[in-house]
Amino acid sequence: MGGTTARVTVASPTLTSLVCVAAWAIPGAGHLWLGRWQKGVVFLVLLPLMFAIGLGLEGRLFPFEFSQPLVALAAAADLGMGLPYLVAKALSAGAGRVVAVSYEYGNAFLIVAGLLNMLVVLDAFDIAQGRK
């Protein structure tokens, strides 16, 4: 009986950190770096598109106001999007229009896009650690 042994490759802590930073900054970049092309391309397309739709729906990129904990949490979730978030902030996008019909939907798209990207970063971390 011949058994097969899966070879697990574990990235160094430095490489793992770099992969996580890349995965945060550009959705899907961590998976692309680690050779998971199909997953990387899906994340690279879906998450920025979801974020852009959130901006298009006149959602708001929340500021870090620690006097209002829920607003600060929403800001942290938005920040999870990485570079698209920073670019949108630099372009003064995401001011949000409270009276817009789609305002709350826009917020949901923006916040959840950031949270999903955080999950993607964790997945990239697991892959880099040889757990997947």
Partner: protein
Amino acid sequence: MTSHLGLMALFAFFVSATFATLMRDTPREQVRFGSQLFAGFVVGGVALGWVLYVLPL
């Protein structure tokens, strides 16, 4: 697009596609799991909407 149902379906699509890609490894499994998630989100959302409709809030 300002249709609540349409926006909810669009939101469900993005979330289910991302989860399916994260949690399954082959494209076939991803499509199957993603479709189940999407259907669950949409049907669940509509059902919850009707539950809230009859509640006197």
